[in-house]
């Protein structure tokens, strides 16, 4: 066991875990951030997608030791009241079914729009193709990313 200082959602946390503990389990088990979802544990499904230093990243394939000195944002920290344009667009278009993959989808979409404010369908597909949704919400996800892009443009 070792102590690691993590910066998560704007707060500093000290955790005492084995250094090879995946960041996913640190966030869920130690910090109670259960919005970060376990789906595969090997970086294949995207359910845990969060932001590390502003980029979409998969906490299941990063360790606690890797994550010290990085800036981590989870779905819980994306916005204060759930009103990030991506979250609003997701609600407007009634995207979620079971909802389990959606924190990861939302975080992946928010990271995409931060670097490409007006993505076309090909760019959306490329950014989100490794986020699996087992309920089949993909057509609504695509439409919601476009809607979020418009909301961001209108409010700029």
């Amino acid at each position: 066991m070792a102590r690691y200082l993590l910066r998560v959602n704007g707060e500093r946390h000290e955790v005492d875990v084995e250094g090879d503990t995946p960041l996913l389990w640190v966030l869920r088990d130690e910090l109670g951030l259960t919005g970060v979802k376990y789906g595969c544990g090997v970086g294949l499904c995207g359910a845990c997608t969060s932001h590390v230093d502003g980029q979409a990243a998969r906490p299941c394939v990063r360790t606690a030791a890797d994550s010290a000195q990085t800036r981590i944002t989870t779905i819980e920290g994306l916005s204060r009241d759930g009103d990030h344009p991506v979250q609003r667009a997701w609600r407007e278009l009634d995207v979620a079914q079971c909802g389990y993959c959606q924190p990861g989808q939302v975080m992946a979409a928010a990271a995409l729009l931060a670097r490409d404010p007006d993505p076309d369908d090909a760019a959306i597909d490329k950014a989100l193709r490794d986020n699996v949704c087992r309920c089949g919400t993909y057509p609504r996800i695509r439409a919601a990313v476009r809607r979020a892009s418009r909301i961001m443009r209108e409010e700029r």
Binding site: G99, N131, G136, P139
Partner: protein
């Protein structure tokens, strides 16, 4: 006007055994029944009796209650019922029945509360009840004004509900049900990570267990060396689980944290014995082929179709949390049947049902897998040993390799073709496995009843031969319809192609007069621009299904050369579409399943174990493979129908036919070896 007692008794048939109104006892609130209550401040709480797995049942419950109580869905606080069949009746979600079975009882429950409030207001004002109406959380009278519910709760609670007639709000006065506006009630929680799924329900102080599972089908532990595991930080205990009482069997490692449990499992040294270490799904498929009768009952056109194993693979892997105490047990589980689970646990543990509490967590998908209790049985065994709450977590590989799979099947289709190219007689010979998770399915008649929904007027027989299942099999969205209809519709498409017939026209001709399918087929043909020839390089497929009290027709448009599905059109008749966005979502979800299973997702078994372990090799469709999906809800006077499973079989059939172009389809996935 119907009396409330009549309605509630009527609703009990098959759906809710007990929904008998309980007159309000609490001085502070109005509690007319188990589904709806108002507190002293007039705040409305509703109880969703069945689990939410993504099908949207909680939203429909909230909409029904809000509709009858003349408020907005957002004014309802929604609780999730724990397992309790005595209070809530059947709580299982299967066979696309939830909304069909809940609509009358829930609407009646909320209408009862409204009628009591309206009566209380009428008595206060000394005016006839008929002059009073409920609106925006208050009862209104043209001259007396308006009394908010909070001012009426006490008076309503004092009434004898048996003396107050109950009238449901008729569909023509609906403000919420059947309207297009409004999404899911849980939409904000879904995008903020606040939804608490089973996996998020471990109580404080709870431990985590993971299970070393058989490395080949049917193996049991022979020798177990857990020395290294027990020496690892955080590991609390190691125990052997014995199937079936303790789940599927294996060796559980209980630890303080998930990572410690996973590391502890890696360090176990187990030898295994028994089972079928050489099992291979290609050999299973050959066995199914060899069990076809030597001779088909019909000579004519013939085609054999083969279907693969499929896993459920919900995004939330299997898990369950149990806290076994000397006086009882509490379960937190993503389950499709909290009530049945409670009853089973009480029986199995020798406890009164009152000592078993099943907290129904949200499920991150279910698709039929979560009707089974095995993860819960594992958690109970682990918690009993640890003397603390324990969550059993399945890894993705555990989930994919120890599922209850959709059975493989072989279908020999034969048809006698008439002079006009249409089939005049048909035979459909099926060889498949039963569903091992429900032993009564070891019955060809039941399998036939589940799968045989051929909608066209071609006389002939469907026969089912059942072979022993070589691994666990279970309910998978649409159950046997998925396999049966795929063979039937693709065979019909081949017949049409050979005769150069229009696929929509031939189906229209073969549908019985008066069938609900005529309207959905015509509608979808219109939406898809069927009368125009397909664009160069594209081809189209069409299929129909009437089941679950609903009807659907699907047209898929694909580019066979690139194996891309471009568009899918569906027209559905569900009787009454209570939540249109939810209706479209179910169709979209089934289309995604159809796309995935036609394009290549399948489970294979090599050297005794399932080869696939995650979403890298179980190739579920991704966003970049997803076509545009156009769903039309056809107006209808039919009774409320089910929809969660209906679109999958025709969507898979239409997609395969479109991808095949003029070549015949021979199996699922399309264009890939099966097994």
């Amino acid at each position: 006007m119907i009396s409330r007692r009549t309605l509630l008794r009527g609703a009990g048939a098959g759906a809710l055994v007990v929904a008998v109104p309980v007159p309000a006892l609490a001085a502070e609130g109005l509690v007319p029944n188990v589904f709806v209550r108002l507190d002293g401040a007039g705040r409305i709480t509703a109880t969703a009796p069945r689990p939410e797995t993504g099908q949207g049942v909680r939203t429909v419950v909230a909409l029904m209650v809000a509709e009858e109580l003349a408020v907005e869905a957002g004014d309802i606080t929604l609780e999730q019922a724990p397992g309790d069949t005595e209070r809530f009746g059947s709580q299982t979600i299967n066979n696309s029945t939830s909304v069909r079975q809940l609509a009358t009882p829930i609407r009646t429950a909320a209408a009862t509360a409204r009628c009591l409030l309206v009566t209380a207001a009428a008595q206060r004002w000394r005016v006839p009840v008929s002059e009073c109406t409920a609106k925006d959380g208050a009862v209104c009278h043209p001259r007396r004004g308006r009394l908010p519910y909070r001012a009426l709760v006490r008076g309503a609670a004092a009434l004898d509900p048996a003396t107050v007639p109950v009238e449901l709000t008729p569909p023509e006065k609906w403000r919420l049900l059947g309207r297009t506006r409004g999404g899911r009630v849980d939409a904000r929680d879904a995008v903020t990570g606040r939804t608490r799924y089973g996996i998020d329900s471990r109580p404080p102080g709870g431990m985590v267990a993971v299970v070393a599972r058989p490395p080949w089908i049917g193996a049991v532990p022979d020798t177990i060396d857990d020395t290294a595991t027990r020496a690892m930080p955080g590991v609390v205990d190691v125990l052997t689980l014995t199937a079936p009482a303790e789940g599927q069997g294996g060796v559980a490692v209980i630890a303080r944290s998930t990572h410690q449990a996973l590391r502890g499992r890696d360090a176990l040294r187990i030898t295994w014995r028994g089972g079928t270490p050489a099992a291979d799904s290609r050999a299973w498929l050959a066995d199914l082929h060899s069990a076809l009768p030597a001779q088909s009952p019909i000579t004519g056109l013939q085609r054999v179709y083969q279907m693969p194993l499929l896993a459920h693979a919900p995004m939330e892997p299997m898990n369950a949390t149990a806290h076994v105490r000397p006086d009882g047990v509490t379960i937190w589980a993503p389950t499709q049947d909290p009530g049945g689970l409670r009853t089973q646990l009480a029986r199995q543990l020798g406890l009164p049902t009152t000592a078993v509490r099943v907290e129904t967590a949200a499920s991150g998908g279910a698709f039929g897998r979560r009707v089974e209790p095995d993860p819960v049985l594992e958690a109970v065994a682990c918690s009993r040993r640890a003397g603390a709450p324990v969550q059993v977590l399945w890894t993705r590989a555990d989930d994919m390799r120890h599922d209850s799979y959709r059975p493989m099947s072989v279908h020999r289709m034969s048809a006698e073709i008439g002079a006009d190219g249409l089939p005049v007689r048909r035979a459909h010979e099926v060889v498949t496995w039963p569903l091992t998770v429900l032993p009564i399915f070891n019955n060809p008649a039941l399998i036939k009843a589940s799968g045989d929904h051929f909608p066209y007027t071609v006389p002939g027989d469907v026969t089912v031969t059942v072979r022993p299942a070589p691994l666990r099999t279970g309910f998978w969205r649409s159950v046997y319809s998925g396999q049966f209809l795929y063979a039937e519709e693709n065979f019909l498409s081949e017949i049409g192609t050979r005769a150069g017939l229009d696929q929509v026209a031939l189906r229209r001709k073969l549908l019985p007069a008066g069938s609900r399918l005529h309207k959905v087929l015509d509608t979808v043909a219109g939406r898809a621009g069927w009368t125009r020839p397909p664009a160069p390089g594209t081809s189209r497929g069409v299929a129909c299904l009437e089941e679950y009290g609903s009807a659907i027709a699907v047209i898929a448009i694909a580019e066979p050369g690139s194996r891309r599905v471009l568009r899918v059109h569906a027209a559905v008749d569900v009787g009454v579409a209570l939540h249109p966005s939810g209706v479209r979502a179910q169709v979209e979800g089934c289309v995604a399943d159809a796309l995935s299973t036609v394009l290549g997702a399948q489970i294979t078994v090599r050297e005794g174990h399932v080869a696939e372990s995650s979403f890298g090799d179980y190739r579920w469709a991704r966003i970049d493979q997803t076509p545009d999906i156009d769903v039309t809800i056809v107006p209808s006077n039919a009774p409320l129908g089910g929809l969660g499973e209906l679109p999958y079989p025709p969507a898979a059939s239409a997609i395969a036919a479109a991808l095949a172009g003029d070549t015949p389809v021979t199996g699922m996935p399309f264009g890939t070896d099966v097994g």
